[in-house]
């Protein structure tokens, strides 16, 4: 496979990942607009840093990690902006905007939104995006034991919020 084939291939692969990246970003940011913005940033960054992606690594895990880092950068930059200008902007951006769904599904999303970020990310990567523990731990840059304990706590909390009937 020559380089240009590979690079065409990578664009197609990223396009096919977009729905999952958006879904992950929504769980991350809890705001659909921020989610799309952060996915766009991540896609642009990923294309710039393709040389840093090891071909034997999973593209989805690598991209999830870039999405997450882009969001961390954005939160830092917002915190700084808010320090500079004591404007209402912070309030607007932090406000959660739940994704509208029919009520049966709403409860799962609403329950997710109540989880602390650590647990929400573990649940999102393993249970929703279907990553193996090892991959999820790498995305979040934590040891696997930390990942599984967050996942266990997140599950327990969801079970409690959603009711035992599952």
């Amino acid at each position: 496979m020559n380089t240009s084939e590979t690079s065409q291939n990578i664009h197609a692969q990223i396009v096919s990942l977009l729905p999952r990246l958006r879904r992950f970003a929504r769980n991350l940011t809890r705001n659909p607009h921020d989610a799309d913005d952060v996915v766009q940033i991540a896609v642009e960054r990923a294309l710039l840093r393709l040389d840093q992606w090891h071909r034997d690594a999973r593209l989805d895990s690598w991209m999830f990690k870039i999405v997450r880092n882009a969001w961390i950068d954005e939160l830092r930059s917002r915190a700084r902006r808010d320090k500079i200008f004591l404007a209402e902007e912070a309030g607007e951006n932090v406000g959660t905007e739940p994704i509208e769904k029919e009520s049966a599904l709403m409860s799962v999303q609403a329950a997710m939104a109540r989880l602390p970020e650590d647990q929400r990310m573990a649940v999102s990567l393993v249970l929703i995006e279907g990553l193996p523990y090892k991959e999820a731990a790498e995305v979040l840059e934590v040891p696997i034991g930390t990942l599984t304990s967050r996942l266990a706590r997140g599950r327990e909390a969801l079970q409690g919020l959603l009711g035992a009937e599952g």
Binding site: H11, I14, V15, L18, P19, R20, R22, R23, R26, D34, D36, D37, V38, V39, Q40, I41, V43, E44, R45, L47, L48, L50, D73, E74, S77, R80, R81, K83, I84, F85, L86, A87, E88, E89, E92, I99, K101, L105, V108, Q109, M112, V123, V126, L127, I128, G130, P132, Y133, T148, L151, A152, R155, L158, Q159, L162, A164, G166
Partner: protein, 250 residues
């Protein structure tokens, strides 16, 4: 949990399976984990079939721009979104780094505001490769304190800070419907304009993205973020800097 998630290898899996056979409690917990997992998967499955915004597909298909300094952040993404929303005609960035500010913009800026203020000379002029503040704008940058300005002042000073370069910098905005804003830094006895939001109808569509209260465009904010060293000056420090003539403390 690991069993229900399919994380266990042969031996461990067999052990859990044995435990499930012997202990209904274990079996129940595994079933609970699986049910929860399925319920969550199902609840989030619909999102995958939502149409993906075109801009994301375009971004994914774009060849990476090779320019070394490729800072992407939400501000620039929003700028591009606002531009896309504003009309079909791509008009390029409505804010440009100083070196690229179109001459027409500066002339328009100078005429538009110079003309309105009877007495004044242009607010901005070119000087040996730099664009510097003059007239009323230069006066305000040198003397006006943010805490003491009247709401009717033609030039409003925003935030003052010490830049990484060691120069003092101040953001400003001008009165008027288009209310352009900018960033100027004191260097060699002059206020050099570092960034300017374009004072034309083009900027109107970005109003929604302006920082509430600051009257400042995100591009100017971004320029501040890039240049600021530490925190903005408080009123005392601002006043002290003015009394030294904004001479950089290097």
């Amino acid at each position: 949990m690991a069993f229900a998630d399919g994380e266990l290898d042969g031996t461990a899996r067999a052990a859990v399976e044995a435990a499930m056979r012997e202990d209904p409690e274990v079996e129940k917990r595994v079933a609970q984990h699986r049910a929860l997992r399925q319920r969550i998967e199902k609840a989030y499955a619909a999102e995958l079939s939502e149409p993906v915004p075109e801009r994301l597909v375009i971004a994914a298909n774009r060849a990476p721009t090779a320019s070394g300094n490729n800072v992407v952040d939400l501000v620039s993404v929003r700028d591009s979104k606002a531009r896309a929303a504003a009309g079909a005609q791509p008009r390029g960035s409505w804010w440009r780094p100083l070196g690229a500010i179109a001459a027409s913009v500066i002339i328009g800026f100078a005429l538009g505001y110079g003309g309105r203020h009877q007495s004044s000379s242009p607010l901005i002029r070119g000087a040996e490769g730099a664009v510097v503040a003059s007239g009323e704008l230069a006066q305000a940058l040198s003397h006006q304190l943010s805490a003491e300005q009247s709401s009717t002042a033609a030039v409003k000073i925003g935030v003052s800070f010490l830049a990484k370069s060691g120069d003092y910098c101040r953001t400003f905005s001008l009165s008027g419907s288009a209310s352009p804003s900018g960033l100027a830094c004191r260097h060699d006895q002059e206020w050099r304009i570092q960034a300017l939001s374009q004072p034309s109808g083009a900027a109107e569509s970005d109003t929604a993205y302006r920082t509430a209260g600051s009257g400042m465009s995100p591009a100017i904010l971004k320029a501040v973020e890039e240049q600021i060293s530490g925190e903005p000056l408080d009123p005392t420090a601002e006043s002290a800097a003015r009394s030294t003539g904004w001479k950089a403390a290097r």
